[in-house]
Structure formats: structure tokens, C-alpha cells
């Protein structure tokens, strides 16, 4: 009979190994899925994970896309992971991302067509504030009234989406856009354009911000008192309280930080790769970032790698759509499966598997 025995401490080796195992398992099961959809499984996996980087024809285009897609995922996931560590479940990052984009874009557009160098920093600030404010709603409701932050932050995603629909066709619509929905195109406005810093690499300011966030989170969690308190709150809430950690401040900090980072990600997206505020500029990064956070073991360095891997599946998914005719939804399912297998594999991190005779009880 198989028995689970709790490890005194989570295994470090297993903790590092499980994401790899999960990826391999997802590839196997995903391959079977693609096979069932009528594609050659080996070709499909190669298209997903290999071709975006090394295909002789497409790689030149898709390699820079890796950073473009990974940046928002990493930026959002870093914020989420700090909250998740403290047991604070912000799952409405998609809403904070949208509100950040709207606020940042609006702040910039108010000064159109100024060409001051201050425009873009102002927009970043406004974007972070927008996301922060949207994250503060569940945070304040949680601290003042004890309302469940999971449900509130999620409901706010739908509210943010209706606001986006409204401003993209109303308040922020391009007055010179001949009535088409969508704001002015930031790519045509030098001062507000989140342009590539090094041409052909995909490195825009969001990538820089994501890297800073990774370093910041690493230092915070491993070297700073606040990071220690975050970890303590998650692992032993009672002990944290006795040690003088203020739970309300912890909630405000975690939701505020993840909101601000998601808002910044939204702003970088809307001024760079997306170019304008449209109804559907979001691409669901806020939800995928949840998978990234877990896949990276809530660890900043892990999240960096997980974000790159997840970005790879996004680009590979587009290639697979183009070359093999695989539906876009198959990739979404693939990403969901990855999270599932990862959570399943986690049992090896926290438990030892023991085989024992049934009689021994």
C-alpha cells in the first residue's frame, strides 16, 4: 500500500525538480491531445518549444517576441507571488492590468501632442497608480470589513472589462480615428511610445521593469525584514501576529504592490506592443501570470524562468496555429494542464512516498 509521509521540511531538490517534471508530463499529455486533434505530436511539441527560437524562417521574428510576451507575465507574477506567499489571493490581476493601462494612457493623452520627456514617466506612474487603486478596493474591503479578497478582486476584472469597453469606444477614442473604436496610436507619438531600447531584441521598458522587479523581489524576500514578515504571515499567521506583524498592513502592501505592478505591465503593453487602448488588448496576461507565479514556485528567479517558458508557449501557440492549424484554445488548455500537473507533482515536495505492508498499522 502506498502511504504519504509528511516531510519535516519541504524538499529543496524536489521543489526545483517538480516544475521540470510537470513540463515533461504536460508535453507528453499535450502531445497526445495534439495527436487527437490530428496533428503530429512531435511536430506540435517542436513547433511550440523549439521553432520560436530556432526555426530558420520564423525565429528572427519570434525571438524578440519572447521578451515582449514574458515581460508583462513576469511583472504581474512577481507581484502576485509576494501576495500568494503571505496567503493573500489576488486573482484579479487582469483587472488591475486593464485599469493601469487605462489610467496611464489617459494621463498621457491629456497632454497630447506634447513632446516632453516627462510624458512617458508620468504615464508609468499613472499606470502604476491605476493598478494600485484597483487593487486597493479588495484590500480595503478585506481589512475594514473582512470581505473575501478572492471574489472581490475577480469580480473587479469584469467591471474593469466593461470600463475598458466603454472608454475604448468613448472617452479615450481617437478623435481622428474616423469613428473606429480604440485610442490614439502611441506608436505614432514619440514621447509616449514604449519603443524598443535595443532594436530587434524586443527589449522595451517593460522588460527592464520586469528585471528590476525580479531583483527587487529577490532582495525583499531573502534580505529584508518585510519579506521575512511576508513569508511568516503565509506559513504561520498566528506566529506572525505574535511577532508584531500587522495583518492589515500586510494585506494592503501585498494587494497594493501586485496591483501597481500589474498596472505598470498594462501601461507598458498598451504603449508598446499593443499600441493603443482597444477592447481586447489584454490577451489574458493577468490570468496566465497566476500559472507563471506557481510554476516559478513563488520564487523570483523561478518566475523569471517560468515567464520565459510561458511566453514561449504563447509564441509557439501562434506558430502552431499558423503552421499546423491547431486551435488557439489548445494552447490555453495546454497552459492550464501545466498548472495542474505542477500542483499534482507538488506532493513529492511536501511528502515522502512510502510503500508499506497493509498489515502494518
Amino acid at each position: 500500500m502506498i502511504r504519504l509521509e509528511k516531510r519535516p521540511q519541504p524538499s529543496r531538490l524536489m521543489s526545483a525538480l517538480t516544475p521540470v517534471l510537470a513540463v515533461v508530463l504536460t508535453m507528453v499529455v499535450g502531445g497526445m491531445l495534439f495527436w487527437a486533434l490530428g496533428a503530429n505530436p512531435f511536430e506540435a511539441i517542436r513547433t511550440l518549444f523549439w521553432d520560436p527560437l530556432f526555426h530558420p524562417q520564423f525565429a528572427a521574428y519570434s525571438r524578440p517576441q519572447l521578451l515582449v510576451k514574458a515581460a508583462p507575465l513576469i511583472l504581474i507574477a512577481i507581484g502576485l507571488s509576494i501576495g500568494f506567499r503571505a496567503g493573500i489571493w489576488n486573482i484579479g490581476a487582469e483587472g488591475q492590468y486593464i485599469m493601469g493601462a487605462i489610467c496611464g494612457a489617459a494621463a498621457g493623452l491629456a497632454f497630447y501632442p506634447s513632446d516632453s520627456v516627462l510624458i512617458f514617466p508620468l504615464m508609468i506612474l499613472a499606470g502604476a497608480l491605476g493598478g494600485w487603486a484597483w487593487g486597493m478596493i479588495p484590500a480595503l474591503l478585506k481589512t475594514k470589513l473582512g470581505t473575501n479578497e478572492i471574489l472581490v478582486s475577480l469580480m473587479l476584472v469584469y467591471v474593469a472589462e466593461t470600463i475598458l469597453g466603454s472608454v475604448a469606444t468613448g472617452l479615450l477614442r481617437n478623435p481622428e480615428g474616423m469613428g473606429f473604436p480604440g485610442s490614439r496610436n502611441f506608436k505614432q507619438w514619440e514621447a509616449a511610445h514604449n519603443a524598443e531600447i535595443f532594436a530587434g531584441t524586443g527589449t522595451h521598458w517593460g522588460v527592464v521593469a520586469a528585471l528590476i522587479a525580479v531583483i527587487f523581489a529577490y532582495v525583499l524576500l531573502s534580505r529584508h525584514m518585510l519579506g521575512y514578515q511576508v513569508r511568516l504571515t503565509g506559513e504561520a499567521p498566528r506566529a506572525a501576529r505574535l511577532a508584531g506583524v500587522n495583518p492589515a498592513r500586510m494585506i494592503l502592501f501585498c494587494l497594493g504592490l501586485s496591483g501597481a505592478l500589474a498596472g505598470m505591465a498594462g501601461l507598458f503593453e498598451v504603449t508598446g506592443p499593443a499600441g493603443q487602448v482597444t477592447i481586447d488588448f489584454g490577451s489574458g496576461y493577468g490570468f496566465t501570470a497566476i500559472i507563471v507565479a506557481f510554476l516559478g514556485r513563488l520564487n523570483p528567479i523561478g518566475i523569471l524562468l517560468a515567464g520565459l517558458l510561458m511566453a514561449l508557449t504563447y509564441i509557439g501557440g501562434e506558430l502552431a496555429q499558423l503552421m499546423l492549424g491547431l486551435p488557439a484554445a489548445a494552447i490555453q488548455l495546454f497552459q492550464g494542464m501545466l498548472l495542474f500537473f505542477l500542483l499534482a507533482m507538488d506532493v513529492f515536495t511536501n511528502f515522502r512516498i512510502r510503500l508499506s505492508q497493509k498489515a502494518a498499522a
Binding site: M155, Y158, P327, A329, F334, Q335
Partner: protein, 307 residues
């Protein structure tokens, strides 16, 4: 604005129809949570039920078969959640989220060929003289069978939890799994059964959405209905009767805002479209301001028998 365009009889009738999906899903989740498990995957199970129910109904021509298939499919999906959380002891919040993300992907994959098709829908039940009553007949007694089934399920869930031995054991599991385990009850199996039941209910709710309420398949059509069902359980303080009240309240808000949009009310459309979600938040706030009560003590806590 022309409010006289809103017919009160049809309004009540459509409130009942629009409340049924979330009522079914919330009743299922209620049982799951009373067993001490927090399954955040309701949205994913609902949309899976919606697409599978629709596909089967279109292919077989029988909406009832569609409902059965939806319940089975969503239940099968919830089995993944059950195995992960109960046997592999994964985090329930994360696994539930994973279930939702997986369900959304799976459903749009299955649903691609079914977009823009009409499905056979459920016939209205003929209740004889009751249906012929002047106003009340059209309001309450001219619905399809699932509406009445969901109402019966409210009573059944209430009676099951309050009066049966199995219901008592289920509640004990949710209040204190260690005590239930010490008394010799199989905590893991009880919870697994509750999870499967919750999945089936969510599947039925989803199928009602795609087969009766809309009736069509569009990607992401549940649009947060599963999350509203989760909020409903909190709103209802984990009691079946109050789930009914809550579901009809939310159904009312949804239908009313649609009617107001159609009547050209002098309110921004965005505000109206967002109103079901805003109302959900407001209700959660009011409920939580009153303080916590009714939540099963072991809700969301993993159970691992040490010996």
C-alpha cells in the same frame, strides 16, 4: 426611456430562467463547501457543462441527453480537482483556479465547431390548469422542467443537510475532519463524493445556460456566472434556502439591467453591464460587515490522516 415596454409578467418569468444556472451551480458548491472543500473551479466546470451539453444536444437532438452529458463531463473534470486536493493534498485555491483555467481552454477547444449553431431547446412543461391561470400561470407555471428541478433541489439539499444521517456526516466532515476521521468516517471519500456532486450541479447549470437561457454556444459564455455562484454561497451563509433567495436576486439584477438597456434607460450602458458584478461585490461587503458566521470550520483546510 420607455419603462412601460417592460412587461412585469415576462420580467418575473425571465428572472426565474436567468437565475437557474447560478442556482444549480451554487447548490452544488454549497454541498462541497459544507464538506469542507473550497472548489474555486465552478466557472471552469460550468463552461465545460455548457459546451458538452450543447454539443451532445445538437448531435443527438435531445436536450435532456445534453443535460446528462453536461453533468457527467463537469463531474469528470471535478474528479481531477478531487484527486489533486484529496489524494495529492494540493492547495485548494490554486487547484480550483487551475480547474477554471483548464475548463475555459477545454471548452473553447470543444466548442469551436459549434459556434453559431442553434440547439434543440427544452419544451415548456404543461402543468394543465395551473399554466392557464391568468397572470401567475405565465409567470410561474410555464417553465421547462429544469427550473422546477432546481427548485426541488433547493428543498432536497436543505432536507438532506438538516434531516439525514448522511447530511450530518457530511457536515461533520466540514466542521472538523479530524473528529470525523476519529469516528471512523472516510473523510477523503466523503469529500470526493461531494466534489463530484458539485461538479455535476455546475455542469447542469452550464448546460442550462447554453441550451435554454441563451440558447447558443459562444466562447467564454459563462462570463463569471461560476464566480457569482461562489459568492452566492457566501451570501447565503451556507444555507440552501438563502441560496434560492440570492440566486433570484442576482437573476433579477441581470434581467433588469438587460431590460433597462433595451428600454434605452438614461444610464450609461457600461454601468448597467457591470451591475451584476458590482451588486455581487456590494452584497459580499454587506455580508462580511455583519461578521462571519455559517462558514464550515474546516473549509479549505487539507486533510491528511497521520496514521
Amino acid at each position: 426611456m420607455d419603462l412601460s415596454a417592460i412587461n412585469p409578467v415576462l420580467l418575473v418569468a425571465s428572472i426565474m430562467v436567468s437565475a437557474t444556472p447560478i442556482l444549480l451551480a451554487a447548490l452544488g458548491e454549497l454541498v462541497v463547501e459544507r464538506a469542507g472543500v473550497l472548489n474555486l473551479g465552478v466557472e471552469g466546470m460550468m463552461i465545460t457543462g455548457a459546451v458538452v451539453g450543447f454539443a451532445i444536444a445538437v448531435n443527438t437532438g435531445s436536450p435532456l441527453l445534453g443535460f446528462v452529458a453536461a453533468a457527467v463531463a463537469a463531474s469528470a473534470l471535478s474528479l481531477a480537482f478531487g484527486v489533486l486536493t484529496q489524494f495529492l493534498l494540493s492547495n485548494q485555491v490554486a487547484t480550483g483556479l487551475g480547474l477554471t483555467l483548464t475548463g475555459l481552454g477545454l471548452s473553447s477547444l470543444i466548442g469551436k465547431p459549434y459556434e453559431g449553431i442553434k440547439s434543440p431547446t427544452l419544451p415548456k412543461l404543461d402543468l394543465g390548469p395551473l399554466s392557464d391561470l391568468p397572470v401567475v400561470g405565465r409567470m410561474l407555471f410555464s417553465h421547462d422542467i429544469v427550473v422546477y428541478f432546481s427548485l426541488a433541489l433547493v428543498a432536497a439539499t436543505w432536507a438532506f443537510l438538516k434531516y439525514t444521517r448522511a447530511g450530518l456526516i457530511l457536515r461533520a466532515t466540514g466542521e472538523s475532519h479530524d473528529s470525523a476521521h476519529a469516528l471512523g468516517y472516510k473523510v477523503v471519500l466523503i469529500r470526493l463524493a461531494a466534489i463530484l456532486y458539485g461538479g455535476a450541479c455546475a455542469g447542469l447549470g452550464g448546460a442550462y445556460l447554453s441550451l435554454v437561457r441563451v440558447p447558443q454556444w459562444t466562447e467564454g459564455m459563462t462570463a463569471g456566472a461560476g464566480w457569482i455562484a461562489l459568492a452566492l454561497v457566501v451570501f447565503a451563509s451556507w444555507r440552501a434556502g438563502r441560496v434560492l433567495v440570492g440566486a433570484y436576486l442576482f437573476g433579477g439584477v441581470t434581467v433588469l439591467q438587460l431590460n433597462l438597456q433595451a428600454a434605452g434607460a438614461d444610464v450609461p450602458v457600461a454601468l448597467l453591464s457591470a451591475s451584476p458584478y458590482v451588486v455581487t461585490i456590494l452584497v459580499l461587503v454587506v455580508i462580511s460587515a455583519r461578521g462571519h458566521h455559517g462558514a464550515p470550520a474546516a473549509l479549505g483546510k487539507p486533510f491528511h490522516a497521520t496514521s
